[in-house]
């Protein structure tokens, strides 16, 4: 189910203004200091359309850093579910791909009601990345720079106009209600889209095959000494975890405010030493290398086995935030170098 339209850029503000009447509109905004962040949009013309990889990403809107779960007063427990509608404009293809995986994680088996509520009330409008960043590597994973399916609404910038694609009921509704500003795409529009996609694919500076990395790991060719080297560099800042659109570990805290008790969940990171500490003080993952391996194995080995795709969408945020240069892309490149080296040795022997 995918329907396509053309939207003249002059009509974008009108459309967003209409969408804002029914929901909170969130989009990229340039702050006085120069940072570009996702925020609630007051003035539509301030939306920043020339998107870099935004940090923090849009994970916050579906899985907030601090999320109130319950409020208890006397013997009554109130469930704090947010049912407010939201439109998040300007997310990237990699972010949408990540949400697709988060849906499976949070909604399968035991449905997480807090995520589910936010998800059902959020419309994601993604923009195809015509100009990938030097840190991006989604093309090699198939999570970007454009999506073929499973988006709400996807916009492709074709100069003066957007090619608008909608693939969900919510997405189609958000367009059909204002159908008078949308027109049917022509042959030229599709030709232009094809050009833009080709040129975007050609602009990637990083070409990483996580599949190659995975096969190196599962065949035991990446030794513990390699992970030791990675681990000794780690500052345990947790930046990669917090910025990763697929990292969802949380801890739960209770806070007492007079006669009211609030139970909330906050982001946690498996890279922290105390993450697995048992009552009594036993630390199952005391050594840093165990936690480093856990993070990489979870994304590169566990995810493909259980979910069928990598636990990494190639957004490159960990590359930007990691102060130690032991992010996914760098480590993958190092492992690939090991593989290349190995091949060379084999060739020499032959």
């Amino acid at each position: 189910m995918s329907s396509e339209w053309i939207l003249d850029k002059n009509h974008l503000s009108y459309w967003l203004r209409q969408l804002r009447k029914e929901a909170d509109l969130i989009g990229p905004l340039r702050k006085p200091g120069g940072d570009i962040v996702f925020e609630s949009i007051e003035r539509i013309h301030e939306i920043f359309l020339d998107l870099p990889a935004l940090i923090p990403g849009p994970k916050e809107f579906l899985f907030p850093q601090y999320e109130k779960l319950f409020n208890k007063r006397d013997s009554k427990v109130e469930e704090l579910s947010i049912k407010r509608k939201r439109v998040v404009f300007g997310v990237r293809s990699c972010d949408v791909s990540a949400v697709r995986l988060l849906d499976r994680f949070f909604l399968d088996r035991f449905e997480d009601p807090f995520y589910s509520n936010r998800r059902a009330n959020t419309l994601l409008i993604s923009i195809v990345c015509n100009n990938p960043e030097p840190t991006c590597f989604c093309a090699g994973i198939g999570t970007g720079p454009y999506l073929r399916e499973d988006y709400d609404i996807q916009l492709t910038d074709l100069g003066e106009r957007y090619l608008v694609q909608a693939a969900s009921k919510q997405g189609i509704r958000a367009i059909k209600a204002y159908s008078f500003i949308f027109s049917k795409p022509t042959r030229t529009d599709y030709d232009d889209q094809f050009e833009v996609q080709l040129s975007a694919m050609a602009r990637f500076q990083k070409r990483i095959s996580l599949e190659r990395v995975r096969s190196m790991i599962i065949t035991g060719k990446v030794r513990d000494t390699f992970w030791e080297k990675v681990a000794t560099r780690c500052f345990e800042c947790g930046g990669c975890v917090y910025e990763c659109p697929l990292c969802t570990c949380f801890t739960v805290i209770d806070r007492v405010f007079g006669d009211e008790i609030e139970r909330a969940r906050i982001w946690d990171a498996c890279l922290f030493k105390g993450f697995t500490r048992l009552a009594g003080g036993v630390l199952p993952n005391e050594r840093m290398v165990m936690r480093t391996k856990r993070w990489y194995y979870h994304k590169l080995v566990h995810y493909p086995e259980v979910i069928g795709s990598f636990g990494c969408v190639g957004c490159g945020r960990c590359t930007i935030v990691c102060p130690a240069k032991i992010d996914m892309a760098t480590v993958a490149i190092k492992i690939k170098a090991l593989a290349d080296n190995e091949e060379k040795i084999i060739e020499q022997k032959e």
């Binding site: 009601p113 807090f114 589910s116 059902a120 949380f250």
Partner: protein, 276 residues
């Protein structure tokens, strides 16, 4: 994108209210709690509940009873961390909230027509108490039952008053301690020094193990050497947990979530997933 409709019935994180009906101190730091639930419960041997004290948090606790009375839940809780200390400050009649049951139960049907060995260390006897009650209930279908139980000191042995009852039901109870106290006549040492006390066809028997990781490892290895099939060696693992439903990530180990994929695993699975 597909969205699941949110017409679910229950919030998986919402605990239900229970009331502490009685508290029995079992040892210096372990209390036995009998809890009356507002709603009827159904649970299996080896499953656990997330027990909740508002203002402090939640902890995973194995249930140590059978669901014979659907509104009654029995838990043995050791005072060891922030939340369990808060639980120990509660009195009879106080509220204790919980949600569950979670996790895989012990495959008790494995014990039918087999010899059964129960191996426990310290507080690890709590989930096995439910197993013992199950075995007593199905006594005619089960062959020899032996319990090898170790604790640091004699006064740290749980359920001492129930041992005679268990022996009356034909369960061989063999005890051991690390450091004896006055009047202790039984074994001294780790549980794996007790094998000669039991006369079992290891190749056809089934073992249920719960205790500290070192004890679990050592007993599993011995049983394996005695020829017990890997899939008949059953244990349950402990992990830090915040949610109990495979979301918080704390108990994740080697591609498995202890809470939803376990906590009960066979030795075969433990070897395959390198869980210990």
């Amino acid at each position: 994108m597909k969205r699941r409709s949110s017409n679910r019935k229950n919030n998986i994180y919402l605990p239900i209210k229970g009331r502490i009906e009685s508290i029995v101190p079992l040892t210096e730091d372990v209390n036995f709690y009998r809890i009356r639930s507002e709603k009827p419960l159904s649970y299996g041997v080896g499953q656990f509940f997330m027990v909740s004290v508002w203002g402090y948090g939640e902890v995973p606790i194995s249930v140590c009873s059978l669901p014979e009375k659907p509104e009654i839940l029995e838990l043995s809780i050791r005072k060891v961390g922030f939340v369990t200390n808060a639980i120990h400050r509660l009195k009879e009649g106080d509220e204790l909230w919980f949600r569950g049951p979670y996790g895989r139960a012990f495959p008790m049907e494995l014990s039918i027509n087999r010899d059964v060995i129960l191996i426990a260390g310290g507080i690890g006897l709590a989930p096995l108490r439910a197993a013992i009650h199950w075995l007593i209930k199905h006594r005619k279908k089960v062959r020899h039952i032996s319990l090898l139980y170790g604790a640091k000191t004699p006064s740290q042995l749980l359920y001492r008053e129930e041992f005679t009852q268990w022996e009356k039901e034909g369960i061989k109870v063999v005890l051991t301690v690390d450091s004896p106290e006055d009047g202790w006549t039984a074994n001294i040492g780790v549980v794996t020094t007790l094998w000669h006390h039991i006369d079992v066809d290891f190749k056809r028997a089934v073992a249920y193990i719960c205790g500290p990781p070192v004890m679990i490892n050592a007993s599993m290895l011995d049983l394996y050497r005695f020829g017990m099939p890997l899939s008949n060696i059953i244990t349950t693992l402990e992990a830090h947990m915040k949610c109990g439903v495979g979301k918080c990530g704390h108990c994740y180990a080697s591609e498995k979530y202890i809470c939803t994929d376990g906590p009960v695993f066979s030795y075969e699975e433990i070897k395959r997933y390198r869980l210990l």
